[in-house]
């Protein structure tokens, strides 16, 4: 009878994390930033049909980077969880924090118990009644949750993009300003991104029930001009 080689658990975890990180770094990054009347989320995405950013619930949006089929599974699970909770209790009982916790536990479980971790990083954003109630939860492939304040960057080269966004962002930006800051940070100093290469959506602080709205090409072009 053969004995399996002993591999230290530290090594197993490190290998899995490296695997997930490599998968995520292959894809393009995504940024989200708070502006004066909401949250804008923006990603490099040449496809107009396969979305990285989408609506979860009235005031909650989802965004993912990495392997499309994996974050899309998570997106659908989130929509289902939110819709069920809102139906069973009340619409106002659905919140981003609880959703982020559910995502964290799913990702954590898969990271430790499955053969292969999920190669994704996701964002759960919620626009509140006031700016202080806005939430940005950034969740990593291993279930780590980060509660970000004004902006967050997901995906490959996140650190460099984050540093650029830190410089460009301030708390008096309007939608156009915030979108420009996010796009500039995603592009970096050596290239420019056009409206057609982007996907963008906002969560608006309005009285309407559903705060999520996609920014279509015309509007993106106008905002970036």
């Amino acid at each position: 009878m053969t004995m399996p080689f002993y591999v230290a658990p530290e090594q197993v975890m490190k290998d899995r994390a490296d695997y997930a990180r490599k998968g995520i770094a292959r894809g393009r990054a995504l940024a989200a930033a708070v502006y004066d009347s909401g949250i804008v989320i923006c990603a490099e995405n040449p496809s107009q049909t396969l979305r990285k950013i989408s609506e979860i619930y009235d005031r909650i949006a989802f965004a993912g980077v990495g392997k499309y089929n994996e974050f899309d599974q998570l997106r659908i699970a989130g929509v289902r969880a939110a819709d069920l909770k809102g139906y069973a209790y009340s619409r106002e009982d659905v919140d981003a924090r609880s959703l982020a916790n559910q995502y964290a536990s799913i990702l954590g479980q898969i990271f430790t118990h499955e053969m292969k971790p999920m190669e994704v990083e996701i964002l759960v954003a919620e626009v509140g009644a006031t700016r202080d109630d806005d939430r940005l939860f950034h969740i990593l492939y291993d279930g780590t949750v980060m509660d970000e304040d004004h902006f967050t960057v997901l995906g490959g080269e996140a650190e460099a993009i984050s540093a650029r966004l830190e410089e460009a962002w301030n708390d008096s930006l309007d939608l156009s300003g915030a979108l420009k800051a996010a796009v500039g940070a995603l592009a970096g100093p050596d290239r420019a991104l056009t409206a057609a290469e982007l996907e963008a959506a906002v969560l608006e602080r309005t009285d309407a029930r559903r705060a999520f709205r996609r920014l279509e090409l015309d509007e993106r072009t106008a905002l970036l001009a």
């Binding site: 979305r51 989408s54 609506e55 979860i56 659908i76 929509v79 289902r80 819709d83 809102g86 139906y87």
Partner: protein, 256 residues
């Protein structure tokens, strides 16, 4: 011994909803419903809502047992929104009508126990660029109507009024006035349908569904249109030759 001639009624009194109508017009569909809910011969609610948005481009109106009907609407709205979010596009209008049909059919066992729910579904078909409306029966049967539809206890009177006043290419204002006339007549003839409540300022719920989506008609506009109808009816009444005592038969005709 059990008396088989006695009608069997549910032991608990159940709140029922009443007259709702939908009329196609030039830009889409008008939906309207009265506000009265009854339990047996008592009025249980004076300001209940019977016309709801189903999603951006469609609406649903209900008649029948209020509790299950409201629950059906809530689940229907949820299913349309859930589909839209998961699939990243809204269902077709036929798809929505079919979904509601399944829900009514699944409700059949409860309907057989006396908890009948009969909805009316109408919407703006974005693909066809026209308003469309559907009525249902308790078995989930779905029947598309071309011009107008009505359901609930006062629907017979309401649909007669609409039938006489309907023509192709009604404007928004004409369609609203026709619906108002139909609801007024239904309330006039059917005790379970509520008329305009001028004392409390409660008027039927009305909405239009066009390419711009589902839009409620403001309470002020509904009140104004009802006011105009009541005034014109009042003038007509004043020109009459006086009222016949409806209980008296011995002088068999006009008062002298």
């Amino acid at each position: 011994m059990w008396d088989s001639s006695r009608p069997r009624r549910p032991r608990a009194t159940i709140t029922h909803g009443t007259t709702v109508v939908a009329i196609r017009f030039r830009d889409g569909v008008v939906m309207a419903g009265d506000r009265r809910a009854t339990s047996g011969n008592l009025i249980s609610h004076r300001a209940i809502e019977k016309v709801f948005p189903a999603d951006r481009h469609s609406g649903v109106a209900i008649a029948g047992a209020a509790g299950p009907a409201m629950d059906m609407v809530k689940l229907f709205q949820l299913q349309l929104e859930h589909y839209e979010k998961v699939e990243a596009s809204a269902l077709s209008l036929d798809g929505k009508a079919n979904q509601l049909s399944t829900m009514v059919r699944n409700h059949l066992p409860a309907a057989m126990q006396g908890l009948v729910v009969v909805p009316l579904f109408a919407g703006y078909d974005v693909a066809r660029g026209a308003g469309r409306l559907f009525q249902y029966d308790v078995t989930g049967g779905r029947y598309e109507e071309s011009n107008f539809s009505s359901t609930g206890s006062g629907s017979l009177h309401a649909s007669t009024v609409i039938k006489l006043g309907f023509r192709e290419g009604l404007s928004r204002e004409e369609a609203l006035d026709l619906a108002i006339n139909a609801l007024f007549t239904a309330a006039d003839e059917d005790s379970a349908t509520g008329g305009p409540d001028v004392v409390r300022g409660i008027y039927p719920t009305m909405a239009t569904i066009t390419s711009d989506g589902f839009e409620r008609v403001t309470e002020a506009e509904v009140a104004e249109r009802f006011g105009a109808l009541i005034e014109s009816l009042g003038q007509r009444e004043a020109q009459g030759r006086g009222r016949v005592a409806e209980t008296a038969s011995d002088h068999g005709g006009l008062r002298s």
